[in-house]
Amino acid sequence: MTMDYDNLSDPIFHHAHTRPDAIAVIDGRERLDYRNFAALVAKASIYLRDLGVAEGDRVGFLLTNTIDHLVLMFAVARIGATIVELSIEDNVETLAATAAKYDIRTIFAEAHAPAIAGVRQIPVGLFWRREIEGKSGDHRTAAPGEKLLVIMLTTGSTGIPSAWSLTHRVFFRTSEVHEERWRRAYKWDSLREHAHFLLAYPLRFCWFQVLVVLQMRAGATMVIVPEYNRTSDLLRAFAAWENAVAFVTPNTCRYFLRVAPPTGMLLPNFRLLEAGAGPLAAEEKRGMIAHVTPNFAEIYGSTGGGLITALTAEEMSDKADTVGRPPPGATIEIVDRDGRVLPSGETGEVRCRPLWALRVGDEPKFPGTERIEDGWCYPADIGFLDAQGYLHLKGRAADLIRREGTEIFAPEIEGVIASHPAVAEVAVIGVPSPTRGEEIVAFVVKHGALDHDELARYCRTRLAPERLPDRVFYADSLPKLAGQKPDRLRLQALAAAEIARKSG
């Protein structure tokens, strides 16, 4: 392994010394070079110290992607405090509960954000940089990279997210893995020459924090692309940059496929477009290569396992039905229910190592969520490895519902509904929806009299708004599989038929 940095902020200072005029970040009209970026991070480290933020403190961020956000994030890392990116979509109650649960005492928030109870909320308005203008010096912690943490929040079970911790060291190791992978796959000597990393999703999604660290480590240029209401605007923003590197979701890929020209490429300017965070069909991947950019790749990963496999552009022609192979230094296995390793070709649960992140707090009680056991990460996916070592994914270990970008775990909603005394049985499934990705549909078997409004009220007080069922169907019984588990496929067909009947 090569020598690496200790602190997430170190690469910025390294580039400030060696290539001070190289552009680090572009945000709207502003272009900030590494010299000035490092200077802002140093000033912000003093500002944080003056605010009384200490090494080891957990600091929350409730900000859209801006230069000021990046400056603060790296300054928090620099003083040895822990970065926790929060969701700007969450309501104040959830945020207050999250802060209390994970001991986040300071939150940097947009100036117009509503107040969150129980935390010290520091507004970061349009003129935040005036706050650090007069500061001088630099306040870097002496703690080593394996002691410094970042906390990632993922969608949790009761509306409060669950938390994972990663060390700064792991971030750098992951960056190295990606760079090595790209060096091999794309023959890139260096990432930094003229590459524009497009940051188009909130930093609370861990891949994007990785992307920022990777880019800073390489000394490339980050372009902040705001969130838009329509993907057509995202496409315009993507098409505007030369030598672009970006990460997108499968839905964005599908949009690109729909609008791609019959001849030529939709995004000829792309150096690398990687998709992840959900499955793409083999023909979709081949379509991306043929009509969007020849530099298309897919990655598969999880919070605990980090990057698990990757599929390069060259492999798309033969292996588009897989998610690729593990990167250098990583191992994956397929195991049966009892943890026995299965031979290639046999389907079972995926597990991988090394570990990337560790859970903060208890492992969740719901079966089918990602878990860490005996040094292995189980992302709760089902699949098999073929003879060449490529991973074929078959589905989620438990049905995960993806509604409006949020991952919702059906059993947690089932648990809440089932706790109502007048509910005998319940099954919750995700049904494809043209507007939401998936809708949450609950099938309920009543136990005596149950008013629908009463059940809706019951759910509203116990579930976060994005977890409330979109539809509830009442049935006399639920179709079951042999193991007494609800037959989700059958329920899905029932729900689809019922929805079609109602809208038609």
């Binding site: 700007i88 117009h112 705001p226 969130e227 329509r230 057509s232 605007d233 496409l235 020209p261 409004d453």
Partner: protein, 501 residues
């Protein structure tokens, strides 16, 4: 002096100041020379699609350089452009197009319309496609024969369509130049216009047009998911001019720093659309920019009155005085003029007034063109100093979250319940959603609250459902039987505050 065809301005600037920037979108900046070349080619492109003079053409696109080029090219060939809501469903777009006899609709690349009208997709590489064409296909129609259609919001079914000529747009531009002269709005090079909302809303289109008529530059931001990004965009440029909505003003006030202006570099901002509360207007000049105007206008006339920054301290509860060129009358329901201080129907006479409704639109509406007068459909009074005070608007639009809710739709749905004798719906400012829907209900006999909630859930979409329902003995009304919305709103606000505290 005026150009016959509004697109001529672009070609004139291309000759006079070819390298001056015209349109900026992200890292792309086009000069007047480039824009003129693209509009000329786009006119040939449209001809190739079989689009010609007097054909009504729908445009369902987000703001972009390509959208602006398409719009001016349609005007150039003498077609009648009609902006449609980009967020409408395919079915609704086709229904609107059929209702207004549109020959085709331009949509974003990914949209698939159901059958019923010709669809042209504006593909991502449209400008490159245009590069292969040459020539210019300008119509010879005169400024009174060249039309555009503006669709007013109608969230139930069909929007209303208003026809306006190129000459009327020119008059509106002149009026705008006169009103905002004190802030050099159109003094060359005309400041930096930031286009903060879709040009399908008349005011935003008018500001874009004005900027192009004077050869100024327009920044076209994308449709940001987070409104704060728009605030950052406005703050990022020098000498900004812009039209903003009441909800944007509320965000500006919330985001303003203590003891300093949010937009110290702004040349002038005008708010319009829905009215602001007097305190909000005062906060705008104190905390956001001292160069803040409020305008009152509707799609049929563009602008009726305007409140200048210097008038805000004393007259914030009004929407200012009628602008030059507009005569305002307050009349009762039999069109008899009312004395100073009395509330009644507003009517106007002006060269700014549109031709009228599209011929096929004879719906009963409060907004009317008759006997040489234009009735915006609003209730107001003129005070002794000539300031106009509003009491509610015909387009009772409530902006709940990202959705526009049309108040009368909600009222009608609630009133349909047999145990409801009378109902009214108002929007009140909400710290999180822009505005929230509040309903006032007069019961007929017994009516369980739960029952009414169930009814609302059955007949209304989620954004339409009232956040709160208040039961009262009778709805407050002003002379002539019109609902007193101002009183309902203050009732709703005081109730909301009591609950919040």
């Amino acid at each position: 002096m005026a150009w016959d065809n509004l697109s001529d301005a672009i070609f004139d600037h291309a000759a006079q100041q070819p390298d001056a920037p015209a349109l900026i979108e992200g890292p792309t900046a086009l000069s007047y020379r480039s824009v003129a070349a693209l509009v000329a080619r786009a006119s040939v492109f449209l001809q190739g699609l079989g689009i010609g003079e007097r054909m009504r053409i729908g445009i369902a696109l987000g703001n972009s350089i390509d959208h602006v080029i398409l719009y001016f090219a349609l005007m150039r060939i003498g077609a009648v452009p009609a902006e449609l809501p980009v967020e409408d469903s395919g079915e609704k777009l086709v229904a609107t197009a059929q209702r207004y006899n549109m020959r085709a609709i331009f949509t974003e690349a990914h949209v698939a319309l159901p059958p019923g009208v010709a669809q042209h997709r504006l593909m991502p590489h449209w400008r490159e496609q245009l590069a292969a064409l040459s020539g210019d296909h300008r119509s010879l129609l005169g400024p009174d024969e060249l039309h555009t259609i503006t669709l007013t919001t109608g969230s139930t079914g069909v929007p209303g369509g208003i026809m306006t000529t190129h000459r009327q747009f020119w008059r509106r531009f002149e009026s705008q130049r006169a009103i905002f002269g004190a802030h050099r709005l159109y003094e060359p090079p005309g400041g930096t216009l930031v286009l903060t909302a879709s040009i399908r809303y008349g005011a935003f289109f008018r500001f874009l047009l004005g900027q192009i008529l004077v050869g100024g530059v327009t920044i076209i931001p994308p449709d940001f998911a987070k409104p704060i990004e728009l605030v950052r965009t406005l703050a990022a440029y020098d000498d900004v001019v812009g039209f903003v909505t009441a909800n944007m003003c509320r965000l500006f006030i919330a985001a303003a720093p203590d003891g300093a202006l949010l937009f110290p570099r702004v040349r002038m901002l005008v708010a319009g659309g829905l009215p602001l509360y007097p305190d909000e207007k005062r906060a705008m000049i104190r905390r956001v920019t001292p160069h803040f105007y409020e305008g009152y206008g509707t799609s049929g006339i563009a602008v009726i009155s305007s409140l200048a920054p210097a008038e805000i301290p004393a007259k914030a509860e009004s929407v200012g005085r009628p602008v030059a060129g507009v005569v305002v009358d307050i009349v009762d329901d039999r069109d008899q003029p009312l004395p100073v201080g009395s509330y009644g129907n507003i009517r106007c006479r002006s060269e700014l007034v549109s031709l009228g409704r599209c011929g096929d639109d004879q719906r009963d509406s409060a907004e009317q063109f008759r006997d040489g007068w234009y009735y915006p459909g609003d209730i107001g009074a003129l005070d002794a100093e000539g300031y106009l005070h509003l009491r509610g608007r015909v387009a009772e639009i409530i902006r709940s979250g990202a959705t526009e809710v049309f108040g009368p739709d909600v009222t009608a749905a609630i009133a349909a319940h047999p145990a409801v004798a009378d109902a009214a719906v108002v929007g009140i400012p909400s710290p999180t959603r822009g505005e929230e829907v509040v309903a006032f209900v007069v019961k007929r006999g017994t009516l369980e609250h739960e029952e009414l909630v169930r009814h609302c859930r059955a007949v209304l979409t989620p954004p339409q459902r009232p956040e709160r329902i208040y039961y009262i003995d009778a709805l407050p009304r002003i002379a002539g039987g019109k609902l007193d919305r101002a009183q309902l709103q203050s009732l709703a606000l005081s109730q909301a505050m009591r609950r919040g505290g």
